[in-house]
Symmetry: C2
Subunit: 487 residues, 2 copies
């Protein structure tokens, strides 16, 4: 990619165009993108002092500043260091119709580590390829630039920056390190670029030797690639009817659940507090070891998720965990990829986040109600597995509970709740509507259990008919699985 790059041969086909004209064409495209609600992500990466700031300035000059956002990624900040390396990028993905421009990108971590282990590099690239694929599948146009310069040019620019009072602070040890080990970094970058030039998000190598030329090249290429992207999206729309699912039902885990399991009141009372205190200790140890914990609860309405969560956290230090109740995405959230809103709440090192319903809504309610089309929810299983794998790679402890009750039990609980005046608000007409789709939910839950039960993020089916039994089981399973992370 860049190792054998011939700087002298770099010619941009846009060399003769006027910059302003290119800028105005892009502004026109921006309005088109806005009206078509297509998210666009432009990544500007490259050597230190290669002129990223310069080309970025030129790129946006004619754009409407209300619908693009520039994000600069420097050394991870306190909060960012506490999360997986992709976390900070998720929060800045473009919403529908917006253009997000990244100065540095997903590749920040791997590019900075000159001596990264091959396995770690492979793993990180896989995580990145997965986020890029997901965004593209979701209709995002991704355009990636790498600004390439010669060793000598970099040296001169660093020298020049250091000479001036106003720009001296812009030179960091990273600039100098890169220049000192230019050849090593060149090999390193070349390797990364090769590994990550994916079909719909390939790298565009731009010579940063002459910044005016670079700038026009980037403007022109951006115009071409946005147009190409829009055409691809349109073609995709036309193909929509042909989709055939490949999933074959081979197992229905919920068929084998023994709903007769119960425990006696006195056994419950003798056990509960002990287990809660143990859960407290385990949570505390996760905290001291800096292990983030992610606990998911799914289950039909009135299956007892809330009660189980309350018993689970009963003795935990509330400063170390957080419960996130998930409902339908709001107007803002609907503007983004469906995983965006969950990333926001993922736990920092040592903290536990408990999701009361979660991203699995994609393959449950959104599948059943048709909020996601079949292509979308059918690929979500893999997307979710990738995301959980990424969190696992960061060291996150993940456990997922599905609390299962039968239809009669749900009816009993609905009726009980309606009687208790201060819990009546918990039952809405939506709950009754969902109930009518019971069988579809069971089918969807079965598929979810089969396709997303992984070693790194296992599903635990909890027999929920007896609330006490369910609560004890949740506590026991949490303790058991968390302990395996502590050894």
């Amino acid at each position: 990619m860049i190792k054998k790059f011939d700087f002298d041969k770099f010619k941009s086909p846009y060399g003769k165009a006027k910059r302003t004209e290119l800028g105005e064409s892009l502004a026109k495209l921006q309005r088109l993108v806005k009206s078509k609600k297509v998210p666009v992500l432009i990544i500007i990466d490259g050597w230190e002092s290669s002129g990223k700031g310069y080309v970025l300035n030129d790129l946006i000059r004619e754009l409407d500043p209300r619908s693009y956002k520039v994000s600069v990624f420097e050394k991870p900040k306190d909060e960012e260091k506490e999360r997986s390396f992709l976390w900070r990028f998720w929060s800045k993905i473009p919403k529908k119709g917006d253009i997000a421009i990244y100065d540095r990108s997903f590749y920040y971590k791997v590019m900075s580590q000159l001596n990264i282990e091959p396995d770690e590099l492979k793993r990180d690239i896989k995580d990145i390829s997965s986020i890029e694929k997901q965004l593209i599948d979701d209709g995002t146009i991704i355009i990636k630039y790498f600004l390439h310069i010669k060793e000598k040019t970099q040296k001169d620019r660093i020298h020049e920056l250091r000479e001036h009072k106003y720009s001296e602070f812009m030179v960091t040890h990273r600039d100098i390190e890169q220049n000192d080990y230019y050849e090593d970094f060149c090999n390193h970058f070349d390797n990364i670029l090769k590994l990550s030039s994916f079909k719909y998000s390939r790298w565009n190598i731009i010579s940063g030797e002459n910044l005016k030329t670079a700038s026009k090249a980037i403007l022109g290429t951006t115009i071409d690639l946005i147009q190409e992207g829009l055409e691809r999206l349109e073609a995709k729309g036309d193909n929509c009817r042909e989709y055939i699912r490949k999933y074959e039902v081979k197992a229905r885990p919920l068929n084998n659940v023994d709903l007769s399991l119960t425990i006696k009141q006195d056994y419950y009372e003798s056990k509960l507090k002990k287990l809660q205190k143990e859960a407290q200790k385990v949570a505390y140890k996760l905290y001291t070891k800096g292990i983030p914990g992610l606990i998911v609860f799914e289950g039909m309405d009135a299956s007892g998720k809330g009660g189980a969560i309350q018993r689970l956290t009963g003795y935990m230090d509330p400063r170390g965990y957080c419960v996130i109740p998930t409902s339908a995405p709001d107007e803002t959230e609907r503007q983004y990829h469906y995983l965006w809103r969950f990333y926001r709440d993922f736990p920092a090192k040592g903290n536990i986040t408990i999701f009361d319903r979660s991203w699995y809504g994609r393959v449950l309610v959104e599948r059943i109600e048709g909020f996601a089309d079949v292509r979308e929810w059918d690929r979500a299983y893999e997307e979710i597995n990738h995301m959980e794998k990424h969190l696992h790679n960061f060291g996150t402890f993940i456990i997922k509970f599905l609390i299962y009750i039968d239809k009669d039990e749900q009816l009993r609980r609905f009726k009980d709740r309606e009687k208790e005046s201060d819990k009546a608000y918990k039952i809405t007409s939506e709950d009754w509507r969902n109930r009518e789709k019971w069988d579809s939910y069971i089918e969807a839950m079965n598929e979810m259990l089969v396709r997303t039960d992984t070693e790194y993020a296992p599903w635990i089916i909890v027999e929920g008919q007896d609330k006490k039994y369910a609560r004890i089981k949740v506590l026991q399973e949490f303790i058991k699985h968390a302990k395996s992370y502590l050894d």
Copy 2:
């Protein structure tokens, strides 16, 4: 408050109640608060090692973890250090029906600074009193605890923590410093507590000598104060009809605007780029000096806000500014105090945030459409002034532009836009509806100009009939005002 506190006389009226019973009563109240959609904020502050964690744990044990959130405030993190001291607290205020519990609070900064200047203390307390008042006016119940312990007790507890491997890391230099200068801190805290025990958010001093007693005292007091708060809110609801506004129209600044002002095309062209480059330099200097900049644009639909913003930022480094287009609050945002969503985007040191419409929507569209009732929008002027003052105290440079056009000009622009196919999406039926309320908007804008034009956050009325004139004026005024911050 605490200086003459008699530890021996501290008796909680709840001493005889069972902790579990208190906990369950609170859980019941939590459900009531949820159904009434009342936000509750509980602050637990106090000495280091006074047992904040202990009482906090006891406080939430029986609560439904899905509708409370615990926030721990420690030493400000990277992002927080870049903002005014209240910023991080705003993001954690409770939404309607939720209970937010703060471990440390708004008072973190002033309590930590033993040698704070009296003026700074007074200023900070004023800022805090303003946020507490605003939240209370908005229907929030605020309950504040200060956990007080003896010098000897603190010393013993610190000693005990240090003895154990698992808790040693919990002792910081702050604990030790507090204990070394116990008497000084005692005077300091006493002073702060006296200054900040406001009518509806007074301090409750709790002895932390015996943690079980403290815990019950806090549980019981919380129950009482939530009930008291709910009653107050109900009484307030009954009084709603009696409100009489005090504002008297003395000036209508928009009457004096000269809409005939224009400039010639060639003058515009010769000036524009020069001013843009100067604006770029000014922005860069704000950046190097670490001054945050806040620029607000208001104006009727089609008054040219977007175009003016684009010209203003034309040459600025996009990595240093951000444009936030404001529309109606979404479902999540409506769950919070109306200023909550704006705080999120306030600039870090050295950055500029440009709001295309803003919190002034409270006294414009929300006033006119009745989304806010008269009490709400009538007190908003003062709330906004307080907020801007707080940002100013942090060193923020603030300038607000109102672009003014007349009704005929708007009609012309609407029609022009409808003709331009790629701008047609900019005109919606809502724009036509707003137009019908033209006179109400003018009235509301006049009042806004009179009541929120301050030295620290001035309004600039921009004659917008001639777009070129408006753009040049915005650039000139920005440069002039920003420069006054650079001298």
